[in-house]
């Protein structure tokens, strides 16, 4: 029996969903619209269509937020975090999923609990410890913090991918004379590589967008991430909202494009690990 919804239900549904879409898109539309307007025009109305397009906003934003440096910082920090989380995380996830060690249960519990640990619980001693070691304004040192922060989530997510691999594959490889390291690198890793890609995307998103740690540990203008530079620009250095929105668009655009191409992976991954960013 094929059930079709009544026309009235469909209309109500689409109207409600449309309102939801409007709510989600309206601030984003304001961001895009005003990034192309001079400040004076925004004061008249933030809703008016920009004409002529003021492309200068992007040049000013690029210069004032030091994006030629801070974008590189963000990209490096993100890349380092992804590599750290994916390498250390897949090793751990494999061992925990396959119950390779007796204490697997304890470590799974421990990591699950740290996914919800408040940053403030470790932030203050960590900051003063880093200061003592001269690691403030040091992006690789900050990527270690991100790795610690995000790897429990990544491990929980990767675990489910390792769990889905049939045990026979591993056993067959061992019988064929492969050692444990070869089993891991040549049998398991290729099979779970879609999971690793998903984790890389989500960890990349979190690192690129992260604010609290970055603003605390990277204070010098030439070491800051793009998001921190944006926050400084909009908070202190500029009241030209056209320029601020242009800076915002430059940071958001790569993320949104990547998201639109890889939406399924993003959504499934974030839902699977359930961590707020």
């Amino acid at each position: 029996m094929n059930l079709v919804e009544g026309r009235f239900t469909m209309i109500v549904t689409y109207v409600a969903l449309g309102i939801g879409a409007f709510i989600a898109l309206f601030p984003i539309a304001l961001l895009v619209l005003n990034s192309l307007k001079p400040a004076a025009q925004i004061v008249v109305s933030p809703l008016a269509l920009p004409w002529p397009f003021r492309w200068d906003n992007f040049a000013h934003a690029w210069r004032d937020a030091h994006f030629s440096q801070t974008f590189v910082n963000s990209a490096m920090l993100t890349a380092m975090t992804i590599v750290l989380v994916c390498t250390t995380g897949s090793l751990t996830a494999y061992v925990l999923a396959r119950r390779k060690i007796k204490s697997w249960k304890i470590w799974t519990f421990y990591l699950m609990a740290t996914t919800t640990a408040p940053i403030q619980l470790f932030l203050f001693p960590l900051y003063f410890g880093y200061a003592k070691l001269g690691l403030i304004n040091n992006p690789p040192a900050v990527s270690l913090i991100y790795a610690a922060l995000y790897s429990p989530f990544a491990i929980m997510l990767l675990r489910t991918y390792f769990l889905a691999v049939p045990k026979e594959l591993e056993e067959a490889a061992l019988v064929d004379g492969a050692n444990h390291w070869q089993v891991f690198t040549q049998v398991m890793l290729p099979i779970v590589s879609p999971g690793i890609l998903t984790v890389a995307l989500i960890i990349g998103l979190y690192s690129w967008n992260e604010f609290l740690i970055a603003t605390t540990f990277l204070q010098k203008a030439d070491k800051a991430t793009a998001v921190v530079a944006f926050n400084l620009l909009s908070g202190q250095y500029s009241s030209d909202w056209g320029e601020i929105m242009a800076a915002a668009l430059l940071i958001v655009l790569p993320v949104v494009v990547l998201f639109l191409f890889m939406q399924r992976r993003f959504i499934e991954g974030m839902a699977g690990g359930s961590v707020k960013g």
Binding site: L25, L121, L123, F124
Partner: protein, 308 residues
Amino acid sequence: MAFQSEAIVGTQTPARRVDSSAPRPSAVHALYLIPTLIINFAIILVPALLTIALAFFSWDGISAPVFIGLDNFVAVFSDSVFWTALTNNVIWTCIFLVVPVAMGLVAATMLLVARKARNFFQVVYFLPVVIATAITARVWQGMIYSPVTGIFGLMHRYGIPVGNPLSGTSTALYGVATVDLWHWWGFLCVIFFAALRQVPQEQIEAAKIEGATYWQMLRYVLLPGIRPTITLMMILTVIWSFLVFDFVYILTQGGPAFSSEVLSTLAYRHAFYDLNVGQAAAVALVISCFGLIATFFYVRIQTREEQL
């Protein structure tokens, strides 16, 4: 599903046999955990233990810490800002347990009906989730709330009496919460929708044949079908509500007059503005206590679900 197949395979093939023929696999595999644990201990565990210790010391971050017993807690608990912050966290939790969960559920059940456009709407609702919090905050601050450059200012010029919610002591917290709501509800919608699709189709069709209305369908079929997901999301909401930082810090810095202060911004201010690390640690412990209770339930549900 992953754990089910694992359990089935696990009972059929005695993996132990192969493992014991290999040279002490346990010892080799313990090494695999070391990189994760070194990073975790150095960044999280050791500093967390130090935070617990610091809560009992007076320390400005530079000179030698002095043991002062419970004085930090006494000072924190006798500070009215602390109680404002705690109340704000509780209000925040209540808002986020109701509004985004309700919005997410309604939208998710509607996505179930709108078969053709569901993917489009899902992507649109998820967009705010992938935008950096710092940017979301500034867009709302400048383009919506601002009396000069924002929609609120525009409405004011057209004679609609709306003020900037961020500058009023009675509205600042709700102004900030609205921004986080916008950023957040789509995530819940997408999660609930994923869960709703797992509800057996026969149950939905049976209810339809018996003439169930939308609300009856929701009440008796859909909501019970995804109850574990709703519970999990509500527990996580409680945890995250006590951690909220970015939006408050960027939009109001806890002001005006501490009216939108939350525990995390209070702790941050104690540590980095007042250089009173001991009190910051004490506040951090209070946050952690609330988180710990919720975390306990979170771990219990997660492990039960996966039959660890």
